[in-house]
Amino acid sequence: MKKKEKKRSKWLVNTVLGIISIIWLIPTLGLFISSFRPATDILQTGWWTIFPHRAWETTVELELSKDVDLRQPIEIDGTSYTDEELRKGIKINDQRLIWENRRARIVNVQDKVWNMNTDFTLENYMSVLTGKEYSIMQPDGSVRVEKGSDLSQAFWNTVAVSIPGTIIPILIASFAAYAFAWMNFPGRRVMFVIIIALLVVPLQVALIPVLKDYTALGLNGSLLGIWLAHTAFGLPLITYFMYNYISQLPRDIFESAYIDGASNFSIFSRLVLPLSVPALASISIFQFLWVWNDYLVALVFIGSQPDVQVLSMKIADLVGSRGSDWHLLTSAAFISMLMPLTVFFLLQKYFVKGLLGGSIKG
């Protein structure tokens, strides 16, 4: 009896969790599928129509005489329908009647059949990556030619921002964490408390004055400027995180190295850094994702200079300027997600560790 109940509750748990997981997955899945669909399909049918479904398909086109009055009941095959009904589509038995073209007085007779939209293309990715030209058939039949946005430069810009934007703060923070943990100097405690307090200062507070300084120094829109900004905004958390780890390394190894005549610098680079690899790995994933995904800092300090813009800005621009060009948006968004998702799935273990280290001690 008890066992049966347990089995049932396990089944319930699995089902509920399964449903939640599917709900969580659907948004990303939809984007992923859409990014491979032709531009015209994205605008006409939902991405879920790539799965087998029942849909109306035209079997016969009926041409009515040109002088049918749309305000009067319209007679087709001996039955009369109103214009309103034909616009929405009216069901008779298993068939549906709907206007194909009201002005030309053409009515579609449709059957419900099993259907799958399996048109896939790499065109969207091509046009987003290389700025290729492509043409779109408009609803009114005309063809519009458009130039795709070129994301490759933005991609490399993002790399140039993200990798140093990850390594610089981690190096600086590790040096500081080592000093806080294993060196004696006046003001050590006060400075450390200030760094902890800075953990939660919203970076918006810093933007206006820093931007003024940057403008005065000519650092605006430069790589150095944005590295320094990401470094400063990331430092409190990374220092705190690295301090927790470095301060817990066993004291003996430092003492024996010191007795052997090693300097602090060589202890740090030959002992502490190699020993801290797990912590360094987790915090660098965290910082990397943060910098890669950042939008606000880039928006403020890179601004409008197109040759240094990063992916997030390009995509936000696409949303603004081509809000309904879904074939571009979906593929561009997916390109920007490629790197973080790869990092995430390959290094998930470290990523989780990084999160845990940041919020619960130990």
């Binding site: 969790l17 507070v205 400063a232 998702l341």
Partner: protein
């Protein structure tokens, strides 16, 4: 003369102590100019930039350390710690501490930062209709976004702990954390997409149609409910964060405690509320504060989804608008300080934790 050129002599040390900082500064300034003016291909530039950034920082430490190592032992002991923490302290001071003080000062000045206006900006922030609705929206974000993220995170952590496919479910729910808020904005814009007629390509409207409802323009027309549709995106992204941390701390609840409760006849719901929740309460507090701070600063989602139109403005986007579009430095700074004031309780909480 020979003595003077010896590397450990005092004049030589003084010379080196000046040469190293100026030399470092000069070299990096030249490299900076090179990068600013170059027309190189973007891939090559990225590689060079990465090299510069990474090697550059290390060599700065290396060269400074090299000089300090030459000092007498007493001097070395006093100076070396400051070489180690120096860059961190300088950067934090310049880019975070000083700006905070300057922003507080700016918030008492007028739009052009010329005249002192006292508390006028603060009065405006709390009375101006537009700005007040900004504050209301931020409250909505915290009240719904943060609370539901924590609640869902806890629920899913418990479910995952008892299910047979814990790892894959956790990966799926955690995955949105890795995506940028901008990309998430695109994903959800597509879900909320609205076009007139009965041909809907947005998932939510297609569902509405399938159940016989009317398609809606979710993020624009339904004020103030459209805010909630934006908040859903935050919940989708932050639940994974809460879940991972709860999951780790739930695993820390001792098995004997759970067994004892079960032997005493407590059901699972009772166990959840009377044992698990109290046991992980400090984690819940920590996760909640982290998410609240994150939510207070929310910017990207609103910017991408609505641009702050349709009454969805939050403090961070309004701050951006005041500063970059209206050039009203007074309002801009004041909004930033309001954010800061909102997180002060969290700072205090953090410091208390640290004292422990």
């Amino acid at each position: 003369m020979k003595n003077l050129l010896r590397i450990n002599s005092t004049p030589m040390l003084i010379f080196l102590s000046i040469l190293i900082p100026t030399g470092n500064f000069y070299i990096h300034w030249r490299i900076f100019l090179f990068f600013r003016d170059t027309e190189l291909n973007s891939l090559l530039l990225a590689v060079l930039a990465v090299l510069w950034g990474v090697v550059g920082v290390y060599t700065i430490y290396l060269s400074f350390n090299w000089v300090v190592e030459k000092y007498s032992d007493r001097l070395k002991k006093g100076i070396l710690p400051f070489v180690f923490i120096g860059p961190a302290v300088i950067l934090l001071g310049w880019l975070l501490v000083l700006p905070t003080v300057r922003t507080i000062y700016l918030s008492f000045l007028d739009a052009q930062s010329v005249h002192f206006v006292g508390l006028a900006n603060y009065v405006a922030v709390f009375t101006d209709r537009l700005l007040v609705s900004t504050l209301r929206n931020n409250l909505l974000w915290v009240a719904f976004g943060a609370t539901l993220s924590v609640a869902f995170g806890l629920l899913i952590a418990i479910l995952a702990d008892r299910s047979s496919y814990e790892r894959i479910a956790k990966s799926i729910i955690f995955m949105p954390m890795a995506i940028s808020l901008v990309a998430a904005g695109v994903i959800w814009k597509f879900i909320y997409y609205f076009q007139p007629g009965d041909q809907q390509v947005g998932l939510l409207n297609a569902i509405m149609l399938a159940f016989g409802g009317e398609p809606q323009a979710w993020t624009s027309m339904l004020q103030p409910w459209n805010n909630l549709f934006l908040i859903v995106i935050l919940i989708w992204m932050q639940t994974g964060f809460a879940m991972v941390i709860f999951s780790a701390s739930i695993k820390g609840v001792p098995d004997q405690m759970l067994e004892a409760a079960r032997v005493d006849g407590a059901n699972e719901v009772r166990i959840f509320f009377s044992i698990i929740i109290p046991y992980i309460s400090s984690t819940i507090l920590a996760v909640t504060t982290t998410i609240v701070v994150f939510t207070l600063k929310i910017f990207d989602i609103v910017m991408v989804m609505t641009g702050g139109q349709y009454d969805t403005e939050v403090v961070a986007t309004q701050f951006y608008r005041q500063f970059f579009m209206y050039r009203n430095f007074g309002y801009g700074s004041t909004l930033a300080i309001v954010l800061l004031i909102a997180v002060i309780p969290v700072i205090i909480f953090n410091l208390r934790q640290f004292r422990k």
